[in-house]
Amino acid sequence: MVAAKHPVLLVALPLVFAAFCPVLAMWKKSACFPWALAGVSATTFLAWSLIGKVSPRGAVAYNLGGWKPPWGIQIRIDYVGLLMICLVTALGPLLVLYSYRYVQHELKPERVPYYYTLFLLVFTAMIGFTITGDLFNMFVFMEIFSIASYALVAITGAREAVRAAFKYLLMGATSSLTVLLAIAFLYSATGSLNMLDISIRLKTTPYVPVAAVALVLFVAGFSVKAALFPVHVWLPDAHSIAPAPVSALLSALVIKMGVIGLFRAIFTIYGPTFATRSSTWSSLAGVISWLAVASILIGAVLAIIQKDFKVMIAYSSVVHIGYILLGLMVLTQEGTAGGLFDILAHAMGKACFFLVAGIFIYKGERRQLRELRGLGRTMPVTAGAFAIAALSIVGMPPTAGFMAKFYILWGCIQGGRYYFVVLALLGSLLTAVYCFRVVYYLFFTGARMPDARIDEGPATMYIPAALLALGTVFFGVFANLLIPSLNTAARVILAK
């Protein structure tokens, strides 16, 4: 297939679509939506054609311009990268489809082309970020999706949105610079920018303290991007104020890029062998896992006390970042596999949450939890999708969230961290409180007589939400499709 030979197309194609989107808008504004949808779908097709071509042990590599690494930029799709691009490209078309009616409702018409342009840029940069093998290239992609996200958060032009975007920008830019500083330190210690090359050179480098400082900076920088407690403060504002499809994009995918950044730094570049050279590696893993637990518990409590639906969902993302990082940082095969699987589970569940929240805003500006009473009767598909996604977010069988939680907890037990099991289970109880409260409002309260003015909303909006909800069930029931490969991938990662 084309994509396996030229993985660079995965980045180039949507980038071209993004570049021509404003040009197209000069001719006809309404052409932007089909253009964006076409670009995203074509990328999806390319990315999915890679399924089965990447083994959990190896990677598909491509040298840009024919320059061999470590001199040139290399694109390297390993199994985790494949998982991420499949996830990004799976959600992309659904979100674009959803955006169609939503941005008509929320944005001034002249801003719509910019919306799709920025969306395509975020989409492109996320794919680039996950598949590049070059550290500086990764930084550039990170900056592209970050800057585009700041703009997307502020795109409505409302002053609260601008305020949230600015807050996001201040923390985001600072964290990006921290990452860049880390790259500088690592480059001075190893003289290379290719991640694979660095990981080999780190085994022999005499500048272990410099590399250790770089690792600390990487973790600090990417933690902000991932919204790990206590540097999650930008997230609730930005994610709740952005237009619903943007919230879904940010919560489901963009913060996962922070997780992937941490993953790349800690596992791909440094790897467990670095622990034999410096104690920093293991102590950082310990610190992150405790911060992850703090994220779970504090995020859940903060979510419970919220009255605004989208803010509550935003805090819920902090909780799940906690679960994902807990799984990755207990350093057992099952935990790592569970953490990776939870990236998928959470992305589908949380995207569904935000899309549902968007439908409630679209149909009558319902943002407060108490305004959701009885909507289950008038909007059964939307509310039903929320209920199913809620099962996944809480971690109830038979959804993907449950399988992820099961694996993460199992990883904790395998690693002998029983206290994490107790705390994570406590966290899932708290999660149940805020998720099921909404289900309760939707289905079990409210007027007997449905309000005839409210109905399901446009099909382009509820179908993506319903598909995501079904996806959580599908991957819960057929978790076996992915988990063995993730297990293998995790074993390879941890053996490095």
Binding site: M396, V421, A432, F436, I483
Partner: protein, 491 residues
């Protein structure tokens, strides 16, 4: 298991009730009568599909079917063995009666009610047919969630509070069970039910085994309403509509017991539990629950609340019987599963008829109800006498076997618990019966019909079963024959 065979039939049985959803989607709004016929028909069909396994269950044969692999070592699998069959047939039968009863009783939000009834049936059968702890946990959680809409069916303030309490208890319990499942898998390396101990001293030290055992008891104890964990029961039962409370008490509490039975027979095994020394503490807990539960029941004035506390007490008979770790004790305990199910279902359904026909639910206002609802109150009286353990009723058989078990286990003083409990049962049931029949009430004279046939017939059937189970104990096909097979395999 040499006699084990594989078959897709268990899968079909578990998922048959889902057809009710199809029925609801097709006819729920347009043709409600047809939809209701579909609900009842599907419940009956499920029962019929379970029946053919009787012969195999009696042989102690096992039917298994693997659905999906989950993890190496864990899969979603179904397995019909004697215990599973016993629970499944019992709950499917009661479900049919309760569904028929609902036709007359439920007038609002019918589609939601019947759909969740059907889903719940599916998941309860799933629990009974689980081949390993993982599958059991999954069905157990689903069952827990699907019970919630039944409890808050009326959507009154009281029902909401009860529902919330129920959710808090059961989701916490679910988390605890999950921790148990993970620990068991970590130490034993398998979660499969094989009919003998799978987690032994060879796998883990005694403190670890005790911790896992306690975690399971805490988790399943919530549904089985062991005393400090029973908090949701007295709120949820009165709040739910009568057929749902009958099922809550008759079946769903028993599903908690079923979990305990699996832990007892298939995880730890009887011999090992003797070594672990958990028998006596559990007996004390059960005795405490029996007596304190009965005392609480006396103080209640709401009829359904009184019945709920009575359930708390009666279900602990089963735990008492099981943890005697003696064959006759286990027989008594397992018989109590069916006996109590029929007795309590009768009582709850009768209370439903009383509430439906007279609107009264305070026990002090039931004077003369017997003359208005003679057949209903007759069934009520039979079941109440059964609760007290009067000979020729099902309750007597339970108590007799439990008594024998106490002696077998060399713990005869627990017979005193049974006797005190009978006495307390008499204290809270006899005044109701007396008032219903012998106190002149405001309503006199026979009415032409006492209630709808769809409600009366299920009550009469369950009432009759209280007597049948008390008189024709050893007739093949009744619980005793199955229970005997189960206990023989274990001891």
């Amino acid at each position: 298991m040499s006699k084990g065979t594989s078959s897709v039939l268990p899968v079909i049985v578990v998922f048959t009730p889902w057809l009710a959803l199809v029925g609801a989607a097709l006819w729920g709004k347009a043709r409600p009568k047809l939809a209701k016929a579909v609900y009842v028909g599907i419940t009956a069909a499920t029962l019929c599909l379970i029946l053919p396994f009787y012969a195999r269950a009696l042989d102690g044969a096992v039917t298994t079917q693997r659905l999906l692999g989950v993890v190496s070592g864990i899969s979603l699998s179904l397995r019909i063995d004697t215990v599973g069959f016993y629970f499944a047939i019992l709950l499917a039968f009661l479900w049919l009666l309760a569904t028929v009863f609902s036709l007359g009783y439920i007038h609002e939000r019918e589609t939601r009610y019947y759909c969740f009834m059907a889903l719940n049936l599916s998941f309860c059968i799933g629990v009974a047919f689980s081949a390993n702890m993982f599958t059991l946990f999954i069905f157990y959680e689903l069952m827990s969630l699907c019970t919630y809409p039944l409890i808050i069916h009326d959507e009154t303030e009281q029902a909401r509070k009860a529902g919330l309490k129920y959710l808090v208890y059961s989701i916490s319990a679910g988390a605890v069970i999950l921790a148990g499942v993970l620990l068991q898998f970590f130490y034993a390396g398998t979660l499969n039910f094989t009919g003998h101990a799978t987690l032994t001293y060879a796998d883990a030290s005694k403190p670890v085994l005790l911790v896992i055992f306690s975690i399971y008891m805490l988790g399943f104890g919530v549904k089985a309403c062991i005393m400090p964990l029973h908090g949701w029961v007295p709120d949820a039962h009165p709040a739910a509509p009568a057929p749902a409370s009958a099922l809550l008490s008759g079946v769903i509490l028993k599903i908690g017991i079923f979990g305990i039975i699996r832990v007892l027979f298939d995880v730890f095994g009887v011999k090992q539990l003797r070594l672990l020394g958990v028998s006596l503490p559990m007996l004390y807990v059960a005795s405490f629950t029996i007596i304190v539960g009965s005392l609480f029941a006396i103080t209640q004035t709401d009829l359904k609340r009184r019945l709920a506390y009575s359930s708390v007490a009666q279900v602990s008979y089963i735990i008492l019987g099981l943890f005697l770790l003696a064959p006759d004790g286990a027989i008594g305990g397992l018989l109590q599963v069916a006996n109590h199910a029929f007795m309590k279902a009768t009582l709850f359904l009768c209370s439903g008829i009383i509430i439906h026909e007279t609107g009264k639910r305070d026990v002090r206002e039931l004077d003369g109800v017997g003359s208005k609802l003679p057949l209903t109150m007759l069934a009520f009286s039979v079941a109440a006498l059964g609760m007290m353990g009067v000979p020729a009723t099902a309750g007597f058989i339970t108590k007799w076997e439990l008594g024998v078990g106490c002696i077998q286990a060399h713990r005869p003083y627990f017979i005193a618990v049974l006797l005190i409990s009978s006495l307390l049962n008499a204290v809270y049931f006899l005044p109701v019966i007396y008032a219903a029949f012998f106190k002149g009430g405001p309503v006199g004279g026979l009415l032409k019909h006492e209630t709808k046939r769809t409600m009366l017939i299920p009550v009469l059937i369950t009432g009759a079963f209280v007597l049948i189970l008390g008189i024709f104990v050893t007739v093949p096909g009744l619980p005793y024959s199955l229970v005997e097979v189960i206990t023989k395999a274990v001891f």
